[in-house]
Symmetry: C2
Subunit: 476 residues, 2 copies
């Protein structure tokens, strides 16, 4: 069985920890790893790492690969999407790719940012789903609802299948209901949450796409021919220019709408597996460890006489006194304090911040790059101070700037600096000046992380003042 993890989310519901450029699946919100690391961990007993595929937006490709390096995930099993699109297209393309190598394959699809607390049951359910998929069914998972949730789609239970009395026909799929309907559904015990996990044969889903979403299906073969390696240094898969154009022109449909709601081959397995979509901060109440007063705490935090609150700090000291049902999320460049029962409305808050042009909505304080990361530490009228971290063996592009000179000092590790025609090897405490217009490149030839402090001087200090002469990662 192949596994396809859909990691296309750009969620800001966990702002300020998640950002447009640093979405939820890449954050450690519950447990010990990031959401996508936990997802992969959960799947490994079912699916070997070399049969896992990931679809994500190109902006998240490098960081996703980095986070899964220790699992042995193969970078060329990640497909970087050029635009954010709903699930039908990436599922179709993945099915096309897998089926080309292995026409009789079974493929399971998983969101990247959900929690399952009962892993044993989860494994059994997916194994049963695999059995049913091999018989030609499109298999969904139905979560028994525990509250009248208005944020999910539902599956209406039909009759038992002839093959397995624990697998059911789907009478129909239901869009997100209003509260009254959700209450009815909860009471009836015949409605289940659609959690976005599906299992099917690649050949079957492709046929169903052909029948119900011909416009998407008809382009899959062309798209597959437009796949290429993404750069000299990064070997994930992306669409070339032609492929990106085709991709952007195709309809933006969910697989539910494109196929599941229309196909006659759909069945579902009720799955009481402790599933949680962790859709907002207050969902942590159901999935995180608490102290005796019901608080969920992380980081350099002191809570004094507080109940049922969530306090996520980092290195900075956070002290709280006399709070109830409050969510505090402290990051280097932005702080959120929110009533817990309003955490669904963070989306609105983020929209308001966006309108005001707050860059903190999009960009995290530490900006991840293919070669490492940078963090702005200080700035003034004509200087800017950055901490730059370069991973072992990586290099920035060969670049020059029109409006600034730079002063670099090595704080940790060793650096190889190309400056016009010369090459310098610098160690801790060494420094070098990069004049305006000089062609330069910073690399880390060592085996530990390189940290440098860069002070930029100039009248225009802008990320866009960069001319790339050469780049290992194919950036322009």
């Amino acid at each position: 069985m192949y596994g396809v993890i859909l990691a296309g989310g750009s969620g800001t519901r966990f702002w300020p920890i998640s950002r447009e450029q640093n979405p939820k699946q890449l954050q450690n919100i519950v447990g010990t790893g990031t959401m996508i690391q936990n997802t992969v961990q959960r799947l490994l007993p079912l699916i070997p790492i070399d049969k896992l595929r990931i679809g994500t937006h190109k902006q998240q490709a490098t960081e996703t690969i980095r986070q899964l390096e220790s699992f042995g995930f193969l970078p060329n099993h990640l497909l970087a999407e050029p635009y954010s699109r709903n699930t039908a297209l990436i599922i179709g393309l993945m099915a096309k790719i897998i089926s080309a190598d292995d026409p009789d394959s079974v493929m399971a699809v998983f969101p990247s940012d959900h929690v399952v607390t009962n892993t044993e049951k989860f494994i059994k359910v997916i194994q049963k789903a695999e059995t049913m998929a091999k018989k030609g069914y499109l298999v969904a998972l139905g979560i028994p609802p525990t509250r009248p949730e208005t944020g999910f789609g539902y599956i209406k239970q039909g009759s038992k299948t002839k093959e397995d009395e624990n697998v059911f026909q789907v009478e129909h799929f239901v869009e997100k209901p209003d509260l009254n309907k959700a209450k009815e559904y909860l009471k009836s015990r015949t409605y289940f949450w659609n959690c976005g996990v599906f299992v099917w044969k690649t050949s079957v889903i492709l046929k169903e796409l052909q029948q119900h979403a011909e416009n998407i299906y008809s382009q899959l073969e062309s798209l597959k021919h437009c796949l290429q390696k993404s750069g000299k240094k990064l070997d994930h898969i992306e669409l070339d220019e032609k492929g990106s154009k085709i991709f952007s022109a195709l309809p933006n449909l969910s697989i539910d709408f494109a196929v599941m709601e229309k196909s006659s081959k759909v069945v579902f397995i009720p799955a009481d597996i402790g599933w949680n979509d962790v859709g907002s901060w207050n969902a942590l109440d159901e999935v995180s460890e608490k102290d005796q007063a019901g608080n969920i705490i992380k980081g350099n935090v002191l809570v004094h006489d507080c109940n049922d609150s969530i306090v996520y700090g980092q290195d900075r000291l956070v002290a709280t006194l006399g709070l109830k049902n409050t969510v505090i999320v402290d990051t280097q460049d932005a702080l959120l304090v929110c009533a817990k029962d309003r955490s669904q409305d963070i989306k609105k808050l983020v929209e308001e911040l966006n309108k005001k042009g707050c860059s903190e909505v999009k960009v995290p304080a530490t900006v991840k790059k293919p070669w490492g990361s940078y963090t702005v530490l200080d700035s003034g009228s004509n200087f800017l101070l950055k901490r730059i971290e370069v991973l072992p063996g990586e290099s920035l592009s060969l670049q020059s700037h029109k409006h600034r000179s730079e002063h670099w000092t090595i704080a940790k590790g060793s650096a190889k600096v190309e400056l016009n025609e010369d090459t310098f090897h610098l160690e801790v405490n060494d420094s070098i000046i990069i004049p305006l217009d000089a062609k330069h490149r910073l690399g880390n030839p060592g085996s530990e992380v390189l940290i440098i402090f860069e002070i930029q001087f100039g009248n225009l200090l802008d990320e866009n003042d960069i001319f790339r002469h050469e780049d290992l990662y194919g950036r322009r």
Copy 2:
């Protein structure tokens, strides 16, 4: 009339804005200036700047003088106390000093960190107090209570004085009452808050000290002879070593306890002047401007659906959602979130932080120095990055370090660097390495603030690794 401002507070009730080393009177908490700036501003219509004296702990001396520079305050009118002591001693010493120059003088005493909203009435009351003081009285101000406050001492109203029907004898002073008594006092309309403002002739208060606090009085003459200029560069007044010893051995009494409760010359003036001691964050409700929803907001803050909350941010983005009666105080290195009705308990919280050894209780992120300030921006296993600001014309000490080398880069202004036998003049983008053990000094010969970034390298990076060969400010 002379004015003496008592600025000895080391309050942490406004933590994290106020710190042990950066107390409330030096912070901008209400209005446009710091508390002590607002206090001086309020007094200027009554007392010319050259007749103002300030008593403060030596740790706050330089910063206090800096904050009052623009008023033309004379640095040698500030007396830096070697230890934190209650009011009797500093009042006695100030009376001694003023009376030596001007034996017939009237002296008014003011706390440095209170708010008065009705300045016109305040001026009239103090003028009346001056008139009464000239007649030989010790004049207190009595604030008509507006709530059953248990945190203040009270004055029990006696009969009218013969000189003025709006000035009253004091039947007695009352220590902080319990809640039941405080309620009685409020109802009776014959009890007034003792707000710590006093007016008297220096000759009268000295005589009363002689009579009621002989142990203090008897040392005032010797203490006066131990006063000296504080350093080459800073010309405030301090006690020499002998004086500091005498000072530390004297009883730690309030002027209320030492004199006012015992003297027969005490009268008071009821003063409905909009006084507020701004004793905790929730006091801001009475003295600060609010938005339509009752929020008090400062800094880079967005409040969304919040009521009756206090949100004090700085540059970092603070976003809040759905809060009621919550206090949020965000500083560079520490964050407080607190239920407003618990803001009296911040003291306890700070004690708990203190026990845990949190340096954020004592030291602010930006540490003020006689020559300017520094801020730690980043640190790692064997490096530390500081932003150092040197004021025009100032210099750090001639110093050396046993355990670290330093790398300086000029970000703004120009620097004079002494390094062993050499002197260098550095401008923006220049840098210099200070080797381990090298004698060095950083100065700002220019007319704008000098900003440098200092990266320290070494295995022991500690503020105490400093040997001062010479210092303009007399530090060792």
